[in-house]
């Protein structure tokens, strides 16, 4: 078992909903409601869910762009909320970097590539300009851009190349953990494979840990070691990726897998039938009582609408569902 790099313990983030002149709080959006997971050194952990499930809120919390309502984030065993400002600047922020979904909006169009990739170095180290540019040229080589891209501007590159530049920038400070928020979903199919392969190579080369936020299960299966399925601010299933795809436990997981399978209609007939969920995800402002998924679940019983199920271990993985006892 690899060493645990980051651990989220029962994290909760509620956003207030305010109304009126005095901005009185009239309710809470329960974006993330009690989520725990661990990320191991050198491994990829994926968070999967539909929009509004709370995956991006978790990413923001880990990057300290949002402060949690409650819960802890432990980095190398230490609570990051207890770090001083100076400790954060040297011991946390440089070690946790991110790559955003859209490479068209994640870089300043007026900056040259060498300054985009070099910026983390200018901010965080005292390296002279020449040394920074030397490092940038090495970084660009590693991501397959080549040093000749140094003086060009972002608009001169295609989407895939920009995403490579974004990866180079994230690697500039030699981080331990990269938070990848939908790293390939804005890219074309043939380019996605290139970027996923690049990320895998870099992981082996530098023993990087990844937190991947995604909604495409096939991408997740290809990229990750551990996976968590989120629904309405909570984890519904959690564990080893291979196991999860072989034996999905939660009805929601099964529906998601069914929805992203490449099945020909003829093939589907003799095998698994496609599961089509009815309805939509309820509002996180007013989540349903009991199991949050019961309003759309075909297997829901009476208990499901009353009692919140606990996370239980079933086989190798964990699931939050009343059907497993």
């Amino acid at each position: 078992m690899a060493e645990v790099l980051l651990e989220a313990r029962d994290i909760v983030k509620h956003y207030p909903v305010t109304r009126g002149l005095l901005q009185r709080t009239v309710g809470w959006v329960r974006a993330v409601d009690g989520v725990s997971f661990t990320v191991e050194q050198g491994k990829t952990f994926s968070l999967v869910g539909e929009s509004g499930a709370g995956k991006t809120t978790i990413a923001k919390a880990i990057l300290l762009l949002e402060r949690l309502t409650s819960g802890n984030i432990l980095f190398e065993g230490k609570d990051v909320y207890k770090f001083s400002a100076a400790q954060l600047k040297t011991g946390y922020r440089p070690k946790v970097q991110s790559v955003q979904q859209n490479p068209w909006s994640s870089m300043n169009p007026r900056m040259r590539v060498r300054d985009i990739v070099g910026e983390p170095l200018f901010v965080n180290t005292k390296q002279p300009k020449k040394e920074v540019y030397d490092n940038v040229s090495k970084l660009l080589d590693q991501v397959g851009i080549g040093a000749e891209g140094m003086t060009r501007y972002p608009h001169e590159f295609s989407g895939g190349q920009r995403q490579r530049i974004a990866v180079a920038r994230a690697l500039a400070l030699h981080p331990n953990l990269l938070v990848l928020d939908e790293p390939v979903s804005a890219l074309d199919v043939s380019i996605r494979a290139q970027i996923m392969n690049l990320l895998k190579d870099l992981q082996t080369q530098f023993n990087l840990s990844y937190i991947v936020i995604a909604h495409n299960l096939a991408t997740v299966r290809y990229m990750s070691h551990g996976v968590a399925i989120m629904y309405l601010g909570q984890l519904v299933e959690y564990g080893d990726t291979e196991e999860l795809f072989k034996n999905p436990l939660h009805p929601y997981t099964r529906a998601l897998i069914s929805a992203s399978q490449l099945t020909l209609p003829e093939d589907a007939k003799d095998g698994a039938k496609q599961i089509i969920l009815t309805g939509e995800m309820p509002s996180p402002l007013n989540p349903p009582p009991g199991c949050r998924f019961h309003t759309r679940c075909a297997e829901a019983g009476e208990l499901c609408s009353k009692e919140i199920p606990d996370m239980r271990q079933v086989g190798k993985n964990y699931v939050k569902c009343h059907h497993y006892k």
Binding site: E50, S190, L256, Q261
Partner: protein, 322 residues
């Protein structure tokens, strides 16, 4: 064989810019029959959306222009119609669903009024018949409580519901051809599955011909009867969906299918197509895929491959296929 609804013959569409002519669609031919779903799959910039817009004759002006070919819909060449005559077709005989429902709906009108707009324009119904027609259009797309929904504004609906409203507008006049340009891309996967099931349902009820534009093979596998694979302005392979998946012939189709990660198999490394599609302003003289093709021959660099029919409904443009 059922009737041919749409026949596109050697369509050429270009954009004329200050930098030169961009050949977005460069000799595309295909046909769609009644009750059939024809998928056009390709990466961004391959010309799949421009093909759809050309059929609707909604190319951005100035700049976008159909420079050659024929678009025959129900026996009539749309390119010979005047602008005014085309307006009578658009929405009535051929309609379109776009990717982002929030930008295809008007945020300050109730959804009922937006559907009524096309009903009034094309059907000439007495005013008291308009609302029942609107409600039945919403029912067709299985929108719950349509009597209530017609009074709501787009912002009050979820993404999936908005896209259903867009579908209701498109289907309100019972068109013969529906062009769906990435209608499910902006939706979540479980909502996507619902929406696709809806298309099958609509088709069974109305026998409409559907042209489905997408980059997602998962969607293709579920809904399309036949598929055309586009690359740099040309259709490189057309075949029934099953054959595209089981026996693709063009190296680009093969590579594209291989580079999609599959849920049912674990690969250690994904197959990837190196390089990028060519610029449409400066196309290679031979086969367009040649610079990225791993099995290219000498002839591929110099001459464009002819379209070879390998069976009744499977054709490929590749020098390797004889």
């Amino acid at each position: 064989m059922s009737n041919v609804v749409l026949q596109v013959e050697d369509l050429h569409t270009s954009f004329f810019t200050r930098m030169g002519e961009v050949k977005a669609v460069d000799g595309v031919s295909f046909l769609i029959r009644e009750g059939e779903t024809f998928g056009i799959v390709g990466e961004s910039g391959c010309g799949k959306s421009v093909t759809g817009l050309s059929i609707m004759r909604l190319l951005p002006e100035p700049g976008g222009q159909i420079v050659g070919g024929k678009i025959i819909l129900e026996g009539k060449n749309l390119l010979e119609l005047s602008k005014k005559a085309m307006r009578a077709y658009r929405g009535k005989i051929v309609s379109m669903i776009l990717q982002d429902p929030m930008s295809s709906l008007n945020p300050v009108y109730q959804v009922g009024d937006q559907i009524a707009e096309s009903v009034r324009l094309h059907q000439g119904l007495p005013e008291n018949m308009v609302e029942p027609e609107v409600i039945s259009a919403l029912r067709l797309l299985r929108i719950p409580a349509p009597e209530v929904r017609i009074k709501e504004y787009p912002f009050q609906l979820s993404g999936g519901m908005r896209q259903r409203v867009v579908g209701s507008i498109a289907m309100s006049c019972k068109p013969r051809l529906l062009i769906a340009d990435e209608p499910t891309t902006a939706l979540d996967s479980t909502i996507q599955a619902q929406y696709i099931a809806l298309f099958e349902d609509i088709q069974a009820k109305t026998n409409v011909a559907i042209m489905f534009i997408t980059h997602d093979f998962g969607v293709i596998s579920r809904i399309c009867d036949r598929v055309g694979v586009m690359y740099a302005g040309k259709i490189v392979e057309t075949a029934p969906t099953r054959e595209i998946f089981k026996a693709p012939k063009h190296p680009y189709t093969v590579a594209l299918i291989h580079s999609v990660p599959r849920l049912d198999q674990k690969d250690e490394r994904l197959f990837s197509i190196e390089g990028q599609p060519p610029s449409l302003m400066n196309l290679p003289p031979g086969c367009r895929f040649c610079p990225r093709c791993t099995v290219a021959l000498d002839v591929c660099k110099e001459q464009q491959p002819p379209e070879v029919k390998i069976s009744d409904n499977h054709s490929v443009s590749c020098w390797r296929v004889k």
